[in-house]
Subunit: 379 residues, 2 copies
Amino acid sequence: MSLLRFEVVHEYKAARLGRMWTPHGVIETPVFMPVGTQATLKSVLPRDIWDTGTRLMLSNAYHLYLRPGPRVVKEQGGLHKFMNWQGSLLTDSGGFQVMSLGHMVSLTDEGAVFRSHIDGSLVKFGPFESIQAQVDLGADIIMCFDQCPPYPVTEQGAMEAARRTLLWAKQARAMDIPEIQALFGIVQGSVYHGLRKRCALDMAELDFPGYAVGGLAVGEPKKEFYEILDLTAEYLPKDKPRYLMGVGHPYDLVEGVLAGVDMFDCVLPSRNARHGRAFTFQGSLNLKNAKYASDSAPIEEGCDCLACRGFSRSYIRHLFVAGESLAWTLVTIHNLRFFQRFMQKLASSIKDGTVQSYRDEIRRIYPVDMAEDADGERL
Amino acid sequence: MSLLRFEVVHEYKAARLGRMWTPHGVIETPVFMPVGTQATLKSVLPRDIWDTGTRLMLSNAYHLYLRPGPRVVKEQGGLHKFMNWQGSLLTDSGGFQVMSLGHMVSLTDEGAVFRSHIDGSLVKFGPFESIQAQVDLGADIIMCFDQCPPYPVTEQGAMEAARRTLLWAKQARAMDIPEIQALFGIVQGSVYHGLRKRCALDMAELDFPGYAVGGLAVGEPKKEFYEILDLTAEYLPKDKPRYLMGVGHPYDLVEGVLAGVDMFDCVLPSRNARHGRAFTFQGSLNLKNAKYASDSAPIEEGCDCLACRGFSRSYIRHLFVAGESLAWTLVTIHNLRFFQRFMQKLASSIKDGTVQSYRDEIRRIYPVDMAEDADGERL
């Protein structure tokens, strides 16, 4: 029985504000999780991640299984201690990464056999390996191994992936998992309404402490994405946290919250930062742009992050042009802080009942169909 | 008239402990300056540099002249504000870098014309450009433009470089420099005793607030290095700080201090860190080595740096193997702290009169002629 506790404290239509207790602290929801794939959020010290308001981070069982190996992490006292992160952790099962990064040799009910993207070696990774790895890593929240079909996929292909995902979920549910870890189920079903509904209901029946919506934001049209999201969330238990995987873009976070989602993760703030792209409430900026060469303003006026409190756009642009990694550090810190501030504003707008106008504002600043930043470049 | 003040507070033979006041704080000497070539100490935030005990950092007029340009830095409020460094700063004049990095087109009494190592563009950089750039940058200590001959060089070549260095020093001395900046002279003369002596005496006559020994540690045998260092320091004013440029190796710091040097700079702690090389009082370690894969010890037991307080060798090795830049950050922080602790221990040994035995200890741990680390690799 998992020790994870979740409480809904406020509702507005399908949207809700909540609180989640893990063995590593309390988390206000809706929550955005930055991604530390290889047991590090690239170029930022854990203390500085914490100072952005981040309390829950994601890491990847797939990557850590390949390198350094879950046994090494376990010997070092588990993932929290290994990466020196005092907050809460969630590990993804690796289902998505196996399909997108590995060079697949075979995929059966026993799992995947693939060639490692690191050294080409043959690796077997399935439902048992994934859960065992995640138990060794010791994250507060762990995920069932799933088969995430690409988009587009035939209905039959989607059904097969959903069947396997459910089978693996049942197998995982039967495994011996420490009570300090909460195992979440993942709903698949691609863009097929009936399949998504059945998957959600079947998964709910397994009585997980939380549920994820997987297989979205993999290339399907936005309209289908939002429809499937609404539908899937509707059939998931109201008293359990709901997690939309791999999302994302600020406007999609608004749509997710309105659909009743409590948790999100995405590489967007950190990956974009390393390319010079900063998020602000006036839109995003490309800090490599020559127009910032003499700009003494911080990335964003009024931002309280470490980067904005001490460094100008001019300096950060210089770091990018000079190829200095401190640029990644500073912009990543800013973007993490932006996402945390954004989730707080979103939560406030739900509490105040102003979420519809906030939704319009975010759509204006971060348009979905024309995903361009303030400098006219595609996000 | 420079506001810089320097006071010798303790002496042991030629070695001395001192205190230097700049407009940005007080600095205990002997002092080691880490190098932030491009207005950043690679991969470390200024606050974390400060926390290693560092109070004086070096940056390079040559690099900043080429990119982003001293005018940009001046517009941003000067180098301290630009890079958000609350401590003191010294800028090197660029003499050494012009010779070693630029593709020289001509070198005359007016300065160097060379092709930039960044974009191949033709650049004129001489005694006036260097001082003007350094005035714009606004470091607390600035350096005369000098001609640093390679090793080996004929006596005639060394004389010509020394003559030009003295000419440029006189020209710089006549320039209008803000009193918040202290201009140091640089002694050249290669390995020629008579020439070094004359250079030191001529430079001393110009009454600079401080003096550097340049043109050493450029490939000459250690024996000549130490001899020339002793001789040069002897002829420099006792009441002014003495700075040995580009040094360096722990044992050379001991020899430098025993010769009466007060200031040092070197890329060793930061550059080696990025290659996985950590300095400890038991010798240096190559943290990429497989033997650290499951090592739960910190880089160095008893070290109070941020890296040693939170992260294992196992984790840091993982970061290196996974190509994560946080590895550079952590090991650089450790190495900076090592150099600060090392300078403190060295100062204590001078105060206690135990410097000779400390010298032997450091020579054993960091042998000069067999510069290998504890893992048997060359430093």
